[in-house]
């Protein structure tokens, strides 16, 4: 099974201090190494803020591009991991470590059947 562990940031929530950011980065680096050595790592990374996003739509052959993220939602995807785990319990153990390392809540979602 593959799971996405998504980190959401809430728009307007207090920004972490530069020191806290540095701590989180260092923790996430260590965790990534642990995920890789455990064979659970598939992919992962942090995203730049939603203002850097562009939305592309194709409707009846016509392409339009708009500035900014999809919707004016309060919560925005800030980064994510894709991991390999044998079941939800194993994924939840990683999610706990991820939430602790990046100091944010983590949403665990299974991928559609990949036939793996």
């Amino acid at each position: 099974m593959q799971y996405m562990l998504a980190v959401h940031s809430v728009d307007g929530a207090p920004q972490p201090s530069p020191e806290e950011m540095q701590t989180a980065f260092a923790q996430v680096d260590r965790l990534n190494a642990e995920l890789q050595s455990a064979g659970a790592w598939v992919f992962g990374g942090g995203l730049l803020p939603p203002e850097s996003a562009t939305v592309v739509r194709v409707q009846s052959g016509a392409t339009t591009m708009t500035d900014g993220p999809f919707a004016e939602t309060k919560e925005q995807l800030g980064g994510f991991w894709v991991i390999r785990a044998k079941d939800l319990d194993e994924a939840l153990v990683w999610a706990e470590k991820c939430a602790e390392a990046c100091m944010n809540p983590v949403e665990v979602r299974p991928f559609q059947d990949t036939g793996e």
């Binding site: 939800l88 979602r109 059947d113």
Partner: protein, 400 residues
């Protein structure tokens, strides 16, 4: 032949075993339902071990069905079946299967309502309508929760296993809640006759299995003691005509002394550990009720005070009020229940009605009985409340 009774008794056990064999709850349920359909056609009288027959038939039906399908689940289930080629002639390690099932149903990734609904459906064999009545919610809500929870178990790959020791502190509390609710549904059924013995015995059986698995968890022992001490009084709870008999009026010689002795022994073991929790406190209250010839109400009230401090819920406050009435009188108890909010719960107006009767306020008591009768889904409790209301009419009131 009582196929409905057999279905109720065997459904959960068979689905639990088939889930292990097939790796999927939905497939297991279909296979077990198929097997019961075959039983309905074929059985003149049930075979000596109907559960084993159902499991074997369900397994064979599942193989037939899977051969015709080629989805990933079907291939996976076929592969699993081939790993256990000989086993299902017997029901197999049933105890472990049912523990696996209860931990899967009570997984913290599922909502509390989904956990209970799923456990009652899959282990208790209740229909969605019965679960809905137990929870005072529409049947469609429960049916949808059950479907959604089963889908999440499959999609998110919630495992089918008993958790490791270090996981138990997080995984155990929802399981205890669910077992307690199953017993309660059996002890005061929300519909039909008062007691559904099968559910009570099922809850006790599963709790015993849990206590064997976790003898060092005092709340598991506390829950088992609570269930045994309640079960012990069951023979005295209804009279010859099936009518409800209150604790004060019960014939104590009908109580099951063996279960009481076992329950008291468990409560003493809990006391020695000195880590009281809500189930241990409720067990201690029941131990006081079943000790000697009459209840020591001040002790019961002291235990309820402790319970209310740990779990300040309106239900505990309501039950505590009954002890308050015995120790400090009905007026103090009525003050304690005013302001409690338990929408749809018949025992709140029933308790108020009793207290108002004792305070000689018949008009208000009658209104409270009317409210309680309208809410009571269980015919025995309804009959009891109607008799109380009728007694109110028979007595001349001191008020104009």
């Amino acid at each position: 032949m009582d196929l409905a009774g057999l279905y109720r008794a065997e459904y959960g056990r068979c689905v639990a075993t088939l889930t292990r064999l097939l790796g999927d709850i939905g497939l297991a349920e279909e296979a077990v339902q198929d097997a019961f359909a075959v039983a309905l056609e074929k059985w003149e009288t049930p075979p000596p071990n109907p559960g084993a027959w159902i499991v074997t038939t369900a397994r064979n039906r599942a193989i037939d069905r899977l051969r015709r399908e080629s989805t990933r689940e079907a291939r996976h289930a076929q592969a699993l079946l081939l790993q256990h080629p000989d086993e299902p002639a017997e029901v197999g390690p049933v105890r472990d299967d049912q523990l696996r099932m209860i931990f899967t149903c009570c997984h913290p990734a599922l909502s509390p309502l989904a956990q209970t609904a799923l456990t009652l459906r899959l282990l208790g064999g209740l229909e969605a309508a019965e679960v809905a009545r137990a929870y005072l919610v529409p049947e469609a809500t429960i049916a949808q929760r059950i479907v959604r929870a089963k889908k999440k178990i499959r999609d998110a790959a919630i495992p089918y296993r008993v958790p490791e020791a270090h996981e138990l502190p997080d995984r155990l509390p929802p399981v205890l809640t669910v077992l307690y609710l199953i017993f309660n549904e059996g002890y005061a059924a929300t519909s039909g006759p008062l007691v559904r013995t099968d559910l009570c015995l099922e809850a006790i059986r599963l709790t015993r299995a849990l206590a064997d698995l976790m003898p060092d968890e005092p709340e598991v022992l506390g829950l088992l003691a609570l269930l045994l001490l309640s079960e012990a009084r069951r023979p005295a709870r209804t009279g010859p005509g099936g009518e409800l008999v209150t604790l004060a009026e019960q014939d104590r010689s009908l109580w099951n002394r063996e279960l009481i002795a076992e329950g008291h022994d468990l409560v003493r073991r809990c006391l020695r550990r000195n880590r009281p929790g809500p189930y241990q406190l409720q067990a201690a209250i029941n131990a006081v009720h079943t000790d000697g010839d009459a209840t020591d109400w001040p002790q019961v009230l002291a235990l309820y005070d402790q319970l209310l401090a740990q779990t300040p819920t309106p239900i505990v406050a309501l039950n505590r009020a009954v002890a308050v009435a015995e120790v400090h009188g009905p007026a103090a108890a009525l003050a304690a229940v005013e302001g409690l909010e338990l929408p749809g719960y018949h025992l709140l107006p029933a308790t108020r009605a009793d207290l108002l009767t004792r305070l000689d306020r018949p008009a208000e008591a009658r209104a409270a009985y009317d409210e309680a009768i309208a809410l009571a889904g269980n015919q025995t409790e309804r009959a009891f409340l109607e008799a109380r209301r009728a007694a109110l009419d028979a007595q001349p009131s001191s008020q104009p």
